[in-house]
Symmetry: C2
Amino acid sequence: MEKVLNPKSAVVIGASKTPNKVGNVILRNLIERKMKTLYAVNPKYQEVLGIKCFPSVKKLPKKVDCAIIATPAATVPKIVKECGEKGIKGVIIITSGFEEVGNHKGAQEIKRYAKKYGLQIIGPNCLGVLNMHGKIDTIFLPSHKLERPKEGAISFLSQSGAVGSVIIDMLAHYGIGVAKFISYGNATATDESDLLEYLGKDKESEVIVLYVEGVKDGRRFYNALKKAARTKKIIVLKGGKEKGGQKAAKSHTGNIAGSYTAYQAAFKQSKVIEVEDIEELFDILKLIEKPLPKGERVGVITNGGGLGIMTADEVEKQGLKLAEFEERTKKELKKILPPYGRVGNPLDLVADADVFAYERALAAISKDRNTDMLAVITLLQTPKMDDRIVGVLTKTIAQINKPLVVISLGGEYTEAYIKIFERSGVPTYTSPKSAIKALKKLREFAKRKEKKRR
Amino acid sequence: MEKVLNPKSAVVIGASKTPNKVGNVILRNLIERKMKTLYAVNPKYQEVLGIKCFPSVKKLPKKVDCAIIATPAATVPKIVKECGEKGIKGVIIITSGFEEVGNHKGAQEIKRYAKKYGLQIIGPNCLGVLNMHGKIDTIFLPSHKLERPKEGAISFLSQSGAVGSVIIDMLAHYGIGVAKFISYGNATATDESDLLEYLGKDKESEVIVLYVEGVKDGRRFYNALKKAARTKKIIVLKGGKEKGGQKAAKSHTGNIAGSYTAYQAAFKQSKVIEVEDIEELFDILKLIEKPLPKGERVGVITNGGGLGIMTADEVEKQGLKLAEFEERTKKELKKILPPYGRVGNPLDLVADADVFAYERALAAISKDRNTDMLAVITLLQTPKMDDRIVGVLTKTIAQINKPLVVISLGGEYTEAYIKIFERSGVPTYTSPKSAIKALKKLREFAKRKEKKRR
């Protein structure tokens, strides 16, 4: 798999001089990422973007680690064969037009060559791979339209290229670091189970995110998932849950989505986190590298009464509990509040609260032994709030051993702050529901993990 | 009520020279909105912000339409009395420290004077009012932190000041136009039912949004809601649904939140839309001034297979149906797709689609008689998408008689577009779930309305 995910040399087959064409964007990516040995193949050119171009794979001066194929579907099997003959072991096929449109003959040929020559093939019908710690990036969407994330510990497998690209774009936007991304499309020769097995052992990956519509072999998939979940935190998003979606899935990557109930059971038993949709995926991702909650009890801090109430409602609706603070904590909190204020949970610091009130309240509740997690509402519109709140929050998060979520909502001003919060590693949510649901999901996950340990 | 919501003259009692203080911000607001006759009251000053300042209400040269009180709680009842004696009929009490902290004596006095002098009192413990078509704005949060919305047809009643201010800020941010905003706090002399009655007859208000924790008189509230719902579209958000939230609500505005089940039944019977939270409120607000869906059948257009699948899943999960396009429509669509493309629903225009493919697909499905609503996924990351998509969407929305939602998600680039979409009146969602849930809610609302007509 290293040949595909960490190649030292590569060739782009179907390299193009036309801007925005797949064979142009990918070659440009590899130049920008400083791939050491790089060739192009296209009988029309002698060079593309300053890279030497050859009429065919056979004519390459030496073998390379990885070939990226972006030529018409009809030409692909023959090119795969040539790669095998040349001794190129890693192959990424971007081209679509195989299983998903009923071209099973083409797919079978690819499979046969993979076996014959011992090739590691990703695709076809995919975006390819991105290794933030390496030199490879075959995402053919313009980088001004689609940001690349920073280096990190989250790896991501996606059956769908579109879902993959959107999530990569959002990971960058939220400042979440990525290790490896693999868009595996039709999974013709390398499937989700192979990839899970690989990532389960990958040192750079601590969290694995998986978007899957249908799998090749259910039993194998379940076992691969269960095994990988022993060493990594895994988050799964399933596409094609209902009838109409399943029908669409079949014509998408040629895989049968299968009964959702079976998948759900497999996800539960293999101790992974299943998310409902992309929004929930990010709600969880923001917290996944933080401490897991050790109990059900939530402490709520607010500077707006109504939002405290909504958050308290959500805590109970989600089946979590409002913490009953220790007497010691209550005494501490009493000192912070104005004379007419009452120590409750939610703790209402009222609209008049400044950053220091938050600092002291956070310090007290962080230590509270009756509180397992914190939900901190910061309405930034109030006159006395200022940017020192960022420091107070990051300091608290660095010190406490409980998950902490921040809930902040509003217009331009607040959104600018939310971005700063996110880039500073503060898990920020724009609604009580999304924040509390994320805490609930993590608590469920922690409980399943606890059982395992016994 | 005109004296409070549309005053031609006003006085700020407790006017202050200190920036960001309540009595300073409100006076500044009224100057900026060009309130014709404007006075200040504070024994310490002779003028504030260039406005003539008097030692007491009694000393004012003439009576005004509306007095805004921002002095300590202990002084408020006496000032209300003086307003009554002076012949000032509209009174807004910003000050807190009454029912919500057990000061029922102060509240009773205010109530007594309201009756005795025939005053229209808003508050205490509130943000006051904002009339986008008039001169009044008593929101005391700095305008650089909290945007003001543009003029429009949505009016908003909020028991909570914080929830009120956040929603106002978000309305501005999403480009949604507002008529009147009333933060009514403890509802001591003017309650939610009075305000609903007033807005039900208000020509500038077409939609009424209500955030309520607890009401004064359940029966009266139900009747007021039912009556107003005959002429206006009403959206309700309830705070204090669960036990912990209810307890918090009591110490918030001194009102008892009461059994949520009873509220739910009242909302259903009075034909209003109940939303779960602020997020869902905005999901609905984006569509509320568009045509209502006449049936259950959704047409889905996408340029990303996986997102089409997730949207199809959501359509079925929400109990809506995937439309089966008419033969005529299918023929039209076949012409747009590449040779290997299949006409399905979701209609996958594939990543290669340009703006013209969208234009033609939208034209065909807009006319389709088997489609009641449209969900259009636009992944803007693809090479051939460009800014002409904005024009295509706004043109389509202006012409069709069905609700249309756009689903777009991604990083910086996509977010910039989403903002343009929203400001152009395109209902845009960042997840299939929020978009389809909004369509479902509107369909339920339309069905209840249909029943009424029979």
